[in-house]
């Protein structure tokens, strides 16, 4: 199974009712080209898995253990989040 890690260059901020993920270039420089909108579940996934090696299956299990969601929906959500993060180079393999 493919292990991955969320880059520590991802900064997630809550603004109003929404979460926005932004790429930190340096400590005093952010890149907002590919800011991504996140829901609360995505935010909790990021909080729980940051600085850890994990597989997609680990994240799906986390969702199934903590939320009342179907396995198919959890797999779809996790896959979407990982694709979004990969597209802005915030997933390290």
């Amino acid at each position: 199974m493919l292990r991955m890690r969320i880059s520590n260059r991802l900064s997630v901020r809550k603004v109003g009712n929404e979460y926005i993920g932004i790429k930190i270039v340096e400590s005093d420089n952010i890149d907002v080209t590919n800011a991504i909108g996140m829901n609360e579940t995505s935010y909790l996934i990021v909080q729980n898995f940051v600085d850890k090696d994990f597989t997609e299956e680990d994240v799906v299990s986390f969702l199934l253990d903590n939320y009342d969601v179907s396995s198919d929906l959890a797999k779809k959500d996790v896959s979407n989040l990982i694709s979004k993060l990969k597209s802005i180079d915030l997933i390290e393999m």
């Binding site: 926005i20 932004i22 005093d28």
Partner: protein
């Protein structure tokens, strides 16, 4: 950029806290000064610095963020903007302006606001529709080969 108010707040807050905010604009509306997806734009805070005619600003317009040049300010409130590579203008309120461009990074080089290059460009680039069409056409032909060569590298 497809945006929302939260996104604008993050830009404003980071600039206010002295954090540098940059992005790669898409589209060709600010050609030839800003090349979409290639030149990186660095922003500065509009709270500390007043914006003036000629400044390039990021503003909120129909839930998107647009980067265009201010062509007129009416009564310190209504702002008319136009992309250097565009032929039509937009209108927004001063409060819709999120940030202004401090400098543009093109490859290894930076084009700073108020530099000689920036000022010369403003003086030379035509306002007149006919000449703008002509020079844009010329620019696109002249840069087409360069872009193709860059793609092959």
């Amino acid at each position: 950029m497809n945006c929302n108010s939260g996104f604008f707040d993050i830009i404003k807050e980071n600039l206010k806290n002295g954090i540098e905010v940059s992005f790669l604009p898409t589209g060709d509306s600010m050609l030839p000064l800003i090349r979409g997806n290639r030149d990186r734009v660095f922003l500065s805070n509009v709270v500390d610095e007043k914006f003036l005619v000629g400044d390039i600003v990021l503003f909120s317009y129909n839930d998107t963020a647009i980067l265009h040049r201010i062509v007129e300010i009416k009564n310190d409130e209504e702002v008319i903007l136009k992309g250097d590579g565009n032929f039509t203008a937009e209108c927004c309120l001063a409060s819709d302006i999120i940030a202004k461009v401090k400098f543009i990074k093109r490859g290894k080089y930076c084009i700073y606001k108020d530099s000689i290059l920036w000022k010369t460009y403003r003086l030379v680039w035509p306002e007149n529709k006919f000449f703008r069409h002509f020079f844009l056409f010329l620019y696109k032909i002249l840069t087409k080969n360069n872009a193709q060569n860059e793609n092959f590298k």
